[in-house]
Subunit: 408 residues, 2 copies
């Protein structure tokens, strides 16, 4: 009989968010009158700005006519989008990226899940803890780990605990690792890595010949000009880092699906016998073999996000969610809670009272306040004792959720 990939059986039953969805659905069925407020999954709620919508509709109309129809998109994305990305996201910050180093995709989740395929199975992988589950699960599925212990940690992975005591800044690994996932602004903690901290990581990667997989999906939320938006703002990063970007949380593309990955030409890995191979070449092969490009109207929409009107509208969207975060942060602190994040990120990271399990708090919040959050333990062992609230909701919902939480 065909053998399954038994590494999948090491994973817990569900990916975190489907598990949350199941509990919320059960609650909704039991309490049909309850107005559930969702501050759990990091999904935006506001309409996509008009310049982007119009660009998508115009592009869709082009597809109706033989003269302007477009078929298979270029593997790495249309030039018009890759040029716009380079000019909009990197040039203004003094970073030189060649359009050929950009790989347009259907989202940062897919890319950050798929990227491990170009690496060998024997690499030592380091993850922050808590962590976005995709980084971990995709490596488990690929067989780079042993089984999970009772704390949910997988044998063979190196965990870098990020807790209040170290200001949620991941400590450098004690020994050698080959691949490191970093996310800044961080999901789930809502904290950011400073220039100095990122420089330390680049120096580590140079010393250890490691590769940093840098997830910058939330860079649009950074409010302090001193905080890097791209790892390539730091010297030496092109030799050690791949970067993931997304249009989900800035342009509101969670339901539209577009992101991109930067793989600099200089970045190499090696074969077992020491031959150096550019990772760009490997990712290009993966992209052209197991993916078939991004929908044309979606790419036109993403490009419109860089137009003056599009960019201004996006700044307004981000400012709205950041104002939500500020309101949440201040109110929850006033209510006596300990709150991290929410300044350069749409996520607040609440510290639970000692002894409260984060899944218990999840159930409690759902039962009593009909508010959905995300239990910290869902992001890793070191996330236990914390709870994530998302600022992605309408203002009145945010206010009502805060009132309900305060009343609890």
């Amino acid at each position: 009989m065909a053998q399954i990939n038994a590494h999948y059986l090491k994973l817990k039953a569900g990916y975190l968010f489907p598990e949350i969805a199941r509990r919320v659905n059960t609650h909704a069925q039991a309490h049909p009158q309850a107005r559930i407020i969702r501050l759990g999954i990091g999904d935006v709620v506001r309409g996509i700005p008009r310049p982007i919508i119009d660009a998508m509709k115009d592009a869709t109309e082009e597809l109706a006519h033989d003269a302007t129809f477009r078929g298979y998109p270029p593997d790495q994305g249309y030039d018009f989008l890759r040029q716009a990305i380079v000019a909009g996201d990197f040039a203004p910050r003094g970073v030189t990226i060649d359009p050929d180093e950009i790989f347009v995709s259907d989202g940062a989740k897919c890319d950050s899940g798929n990227i491990q395929e170009i690496f060998g199975s024997g690499n030592v992988v380091a993850l922050t803890d808590p962590v976005y589950p995709v980084y971990c699960d995709s490596n488990v599925m690929a067989g780079r780990t042993g089984s999970a212990g009772s704390d949910g940690r997988f044998d063979g992975l190196v965990y870098l605990p990020c807790v209040a005591d170290n200001h949620f800044s991941p400590p450098l690994p004690q020994g050698h690792v080959d691949i490191i996932y970093l996310c800044s602004p961080n999901n789930p903690t809502g904290t950011v890595l400073t220039r100095g901290e990122l420089s330390g990581w680049i120096a580590y990667a140079q010393r250890e010949h490691a590769v940093i997989l840098f997830d910058a999906a939330y860079e649009g939320y950074i409010t302090d000009p001193e905080i890097p938006h791209s790892i390539y703002e730091l010297e030496g990063a092109r030799q050690v880092a791949i970067e993931f970007r997304s249009f989900s949380k800035n342009a509101g593309f969670t339901g539209v699906r577009c992101g991109y990955t930067v793989v600099p030409r200089e970045l190499v890995g090696q074969t077992g016998d020491g031959q150096e191979v550019p990772l760009h070449q490997l990712w290009a092969r993966r992209h052209s073999t197991k993916f078939n490009g991004v929908s044309y109207p979606v790419q036109r929409g993403a490009a419109a996000a860089y137009s003056p009107d599009g960019a201004a509208a996006i700044q307004e969207l981000i400012a709205f969610y950041l104002e939500n975060a500020r309101i949440m942060r201040e109110r929850l602190i006033r209510e006596g809670m300990t709150v991290y994040g929410g300044v350069h990120a749409p996520y607040l990271w609440l510290q639970m009272p000692t002894g409260t399990s984060s899944w218990d708090f999840f159930d409690h919040l759902l039962q009593e306040a009909h508010v959905v959050g995300t239990p910290g333990a869902g992001f890793g062992a070191a996330g236990e004792g914390y709870f994530r609230l998302s600022a992605f909701n309408q203002r009145d919902m945010i206010q009502e959720a805060l009132d309900r939480i305060a009343a609890m």
Copy 2:
């Protein structure tokens, strides 16, 4: 230093179609006046029908407004689309598929490339030869093969030669295999598997506890009511087969990106110690971890393909391309060529005169006629001596290409 996935180095430099694109670009630069006619890559050329375009534009407009905005799509696709698929593609042919067995994706290429991830590395994989390169390359990248020999065949794969002598119907493997890729109507040969032939494959899979990965991306082109569109039209298929479908070649979605995969609940694989595991559960986990759903406007467009107007317009599109195929077939036969396919498929499979290499014919056709085809050898060793022409072009281009070929 981080180790690369060295299995990638077993692959030839490029995926087939990028290699063709490179040669065509070189030719175009050398002959800027030449009007190149592309009958190579299987990409459609006609505008997408109005009901589908309007559905996509309406859905895009919904995303502009807070009240109708939609964020992350459901992992497996929206219910409205999965219901439409079941009612439109399966119920009319007497096949019962549960909407929960449908996984909507961004295309059959992605699914047929990714599906091998849910299987163990030790399975014996059988491929037809010639074959759609993605089936082969994705298994090479996953490490299920040794190196390629001088004929391009990889150690460890079982090749099933499909040539004129066996009417391009793959012979059953001599011994045991675990996984079999079948594609009908076939890319590249343009031929179809009959009910009897498919029944033979199902019986084989039942006997050997093998899994059939059935690619039905071209089912819309079948013109004989006796030929199955879905493998599930045959008894026993639910226990042994996964099926891939696409909106690319019927609704013209090559640039829009949508397809789906059917994984029946009954279908299982096993672990090393004999525990049976439903493949549905594994594919659901893969889909929710390394993919994030299909763009909402695209799903609305796909659903509109099942509306009465949408379906009628698609039938017209398919009839147009099939008429192209008929014209090509009859003319080329009249010119003395031996031609297969092109009746239930948009591909013609030309037999070369003995001793002509298919890449030589590719270059010759490009140089002399400025016509792009696909060399049979690009699809496998048994494809040598054959050449694929696609019927996906405007009628006048088809006529001119035929005139130029005839003049050669």
